[in-house]
C-alpha cells in the first residue's frame, strides 16, 4: 500500500502548476520577522527614504479618504469622541477602513493597501502602497487622518524605508540618501505638511536592505541604525551625536528615553533563544534583561512597559504573550491572535479572534472592539513591521 500511496502523492504533486516564488515578498516578510525581533517601534515612528519624491500638491490621485456613516452616531462625526478614542485606543484598520475606537471610520478609496500606522499628535499617519506588507520597493504614500474627521495627503512619497514617529509630536522622521553627505535625516511636520528639519550625516549602512537606514524618533532625538552603531541625532540643534556600538546593525527602537535591544542566542538543533535588554539610551544603564524563548518584544510609547510574545503565525492559533512593567518587573499575561502594538496613551493593543482589544498595561482592564473578520485583515497601530 505504501508504494502505491507514494506514487499517488508524487503524481499529484508533480501534476501541480507551481507558481514562481516572489523573492522580493519572501525577503520582505523575512526581514519583517527579523526586524520585529530586533526592535519594533513602540508606537510611532518616522522613516526616511532614499528616494524621497515630492508629491504634487493639488493632485491626489489614487488615494482619497472620506468619512463614512458606518458606525457613526446619528448627527455625523463626533470629533470629540474620536479624539478621545484615538488618544486612548489608537487606530486600527479592518480591510481598508480605518478606525479610531468603535465609532469612527475612514475608508481608503484607492487601489492602495494599508501598510502601517504612525501615531502623531496631529492624528495617525497611514502608510499605503501597492502591497500590504511594509518593505516593498515602493513607493509608499502617506496620509494624515485626523480625529476631527479630516484627512490630508502628505507631500512625501518614500520608497523602501523605515520611518518612525513619536505620538506626542506631529512629526514623522525618515532618512534618505544625501548629495553632499551619505544620508539626510528628515523631520516632517505632518500637521503643517512641510519639512521641519533636515540633518545631514555620514555612516556606513549595508545591513538592513532598506534604501536608507531605519530611524527611531524620541522627542528631540532621532536614532539611526548604522552598521557600526546607533547614531544619536539631536534634530532640533541639527547635530549628529554619539555612536553607540550596542546598536550596530540593528533596528533602533527607542521610546521614553529607553532603547530596546534583542539578540539571537543560537541553540542546538537550529533553535533560538532571545536575549531582551532595555537600556537607558543616554547612560547605557541596563534596566531590564531577560533570556526568553524565541520571542520578540515591543516597548510602550513611554518606555515603561514591554510586551513580549512568540511570533504569531499568519492565520495561526492564539499565542500567549505577556506585558512586563519595567518599573518592578511584574508581568501580566495576554493571548494574542495576530498583530499587537500600543496605543498612543500606552495601552496594549492586539487582535483577538473577535476583533481588537486594548488593555491598560497597569491594571489589565480591557476594552473590546468587535469586528466582522470577514471585512478583511485587521492591522493595529503602534507597531512598525507587520510584513
Amino acid at each position: 500500500m505504501t508504494e502505491t500511496l507514494q506514487r499517488l502523492l508524487t503524481d499529484e504533486a508533480e501534476a501541480l502548476d507551481v507558481p514562481l516564488p516572489d523573492e522580493v515578498l519572501i525577503r520582505a516578510r523575512g526581514r519583517g520577522y527579523r526586524t520585529r525581533r530586533r526592535i519594533t517601534s513602540g508606537i510611532v515612528s518616522v522613516a526616511v527614504a532614499a528616494s524621497c519624491a515630492v508629491v504634487a500638491t493639488a493632485a491626489l490621485p489614487g488615494l482619497l479618504a472620506d468619512r463614512v456613516p458606518q458606525d457613526t452616531p446619528a448627527g455625523g462625526w463626533n470629533a470629540e469622541a474620536a479624539q478621545s478614542a484615538y488618544a486612548q485606543d489608537g487606530a486600527f484598520s479592518v480591510g481598508s477602513d480605518i478606525y479610531f475606537g468603535p465609532s469612527a471610520a475612514f475608508v481608503v478609496h484607492s487601489n492602495d493597501k494599508i501598510k502601517s500606522f504612525y501615531y502623531t499628535s496631529a492624528g495617525v499617519v497611514v502608510r499605503t502602497g501597492e502591497k500590504a506588507y511594509l518593505d516593498d520597493a515602493g513607493p509608499s504614500n502617506y496620509l494624515l487622518a485626523r480625529p476631527d474627521g479630516s484627512t490630508q495627503r502628505l507631500q512625501i512619497a518614500l520608497s523602501d524605508v523605515a520611518p518612525d514617529s513619536d505620538p506626542i509630536w506631529p512629526y514623522l522622521a525618515y532618512v534618505t540618501s544625501g548629495t553632499t553627505s551619505a544620508w539626510v535625516l528628515h523631520i516632517f511636520d505632518v500637521e503643517q505638511n512641510e519639512e521641519a528639519a533636515r540633518v545631514p550625516f555620514n555612516g556606513a549602512f549595508t545591513w538592513g536592505g532598506w534604501a536608507a537606514p531605519p530611524v527611531a524618533l524620541d522627542g528631540d532625538h532621532a536614532y539611526v541604525g548604522l552598521d557600526d552603531g546607533r547614531l544619536e541625532i539631536n534634530w532640533r540643534s541639527r547635530s549628529p551625536g554619539a555612536l553607540d556600538a550596542s546598536g550596530a546593525s540593528t533596528f533602533p527602537v527607542v521610546s521614553g528615553g529607553r532603547v530596546l535591544l534583542e539578540r539571537d542566542l543560537p541553540q542546538p538543533g537550529d533553535t533560538w533563544r532571545t536575549e531582551i535588554t532595555v537600556r537607558d539610551v543616554t547612560t547605557g544603564e541596563v534596566l531590564f534583561q531577560q533570556e526568553t524563548a524565541d520571542e520578540f518584544a515591543q516597548l510602550s510609547p513611554d518606555g515603561r512597559f514591554l510586551s513580549v510574545s512568540e511570533f504569531v503565525m499568519i492565520d495561526g492559533p492564539a499565542t500567549d504573550g505577556r506585558v512586563i512593567d519595567l518599573l518592578d518587573g511584574s508581568e501580566q499575561p495576554f493571548a494574542i491572535q495576530e498583530g499587537r502594538g500600543w496605543t498612543p496613551s500606552g495601552r496594549l493593543m492586539y487582535v483577538t479572534d473577535t476583533g481588537v482589544r486594548t488593555c491598560d498595561a497597569d491594571t489589565g482592564a480591557c476594552r473590546n472592539y468587535p469586528h466582522q473578520l470577514s471585512g478583511g485583515r485587521i492591522k493595529v497601530g503602534g507597531t512598525n513591521y507587520e510584513s
Partner: protein, 167 residues
C-alpha cells in the same frame, strides 16, 4: 554558516518542493503558496545562523509543517478572514491520478496528514518525521498507522493491493 548571497540559490532549489508539500498538506493553492512563502521568509530571517543548506531545509520544512497544522486547527478562523480568497477547489476537481487523493487527505486529522506527506511524499524516516513534528517516534508510527487505515478505506479501489502496516 550560510552566506547571505546564497539565499536566492536556496530558494530556487527548494521552492517547488516546498510548494508541492504545502499543497499536499492543505489542498489549497493560495494557502500552499502562502505557507511556502512563510517557510522561506522565516528561513531568511534565520539565514545567518543556519549552518548550511541542509539545516536551512530542515528549518524551512519544520516551519511549513507546523504552520500548516496550526492553520488547519484554526480552520474556522481562517475561513472567516480569507473570504476575499475563497478556497481553491481545483485540486479536488481535477485529480491528476483519477483518484481524489486531496479529498482523502483532507479527511485526515492534521497531524495524520502531515505524517503521510512527510513519510510518503518527502520519504523521511520516522525519526526525522518525529523531529519535524516535535513529537515522539511512537506517535509518528501510530499516527501514520491510523492515517493509512483511514486512507485504505477512502481510497479502497486504488489501494487494493495493500502492502501491510507502515514501516
Amino acid at each position: 554558516m550560510t552566506n547571505p548571497g546564497d539565499f536566492t540559490e536556496f530558494m530556487g532549489h527548494s521552492w517547488a518542493r516546498l510548494y508541492r508539500t504545502a499543497m499536499l498538506l492543505t489542498g489549497n493553492h493560495a494557502r500552499a503558496e502562502d505557507l511556502a512563502q512563510e517557510a522561506l521568509a522565516r528561513t531568511y530571517a534565520k539565514w545567518s545562523g543556519l549552518r548550511d543548506f541542509e539545516a536551512a531545509g530542515a528549518y524551512a520544512y519544520r516551519t511549513l509543517v507546523n504552520a500548516s497544522i496550526s492553520q488547519v486547527r484554526r480552520r474556522a478562523w481562517t475561513a472567516e478572514i480569507t473570504t476575499a480568497n475563497p478556497p481553491d477547489k481545483s485540486a479536488h476537481e481535477a485529480p491528476s491520478s483519477g483518484v481524489d487523493l486531496m479529498a482523502a487527505l483532507a479527511d485526515l486529522a492534521p497531524r495524520q496528514r502531515a505524517c503521510v506527506v512527510l513519510r510518503y511524499f518527502l520519504e523521511l524516516p520516522v525519526s526525522e518525521t518525529a523531529a519535524l513534528l516535535g513529537c515522539s517516534e511512537g506517535t509518528v508510527k501510530s499516527q501514520t498507522s491510523d492515517a493509512l487505515g483511514r486512507l485504505r478505506i477512502l481510497l479502497a479501489s486504488e489501494l487494493s493491493t495493500s502492502e501491510g502496516s507502515p514501516r
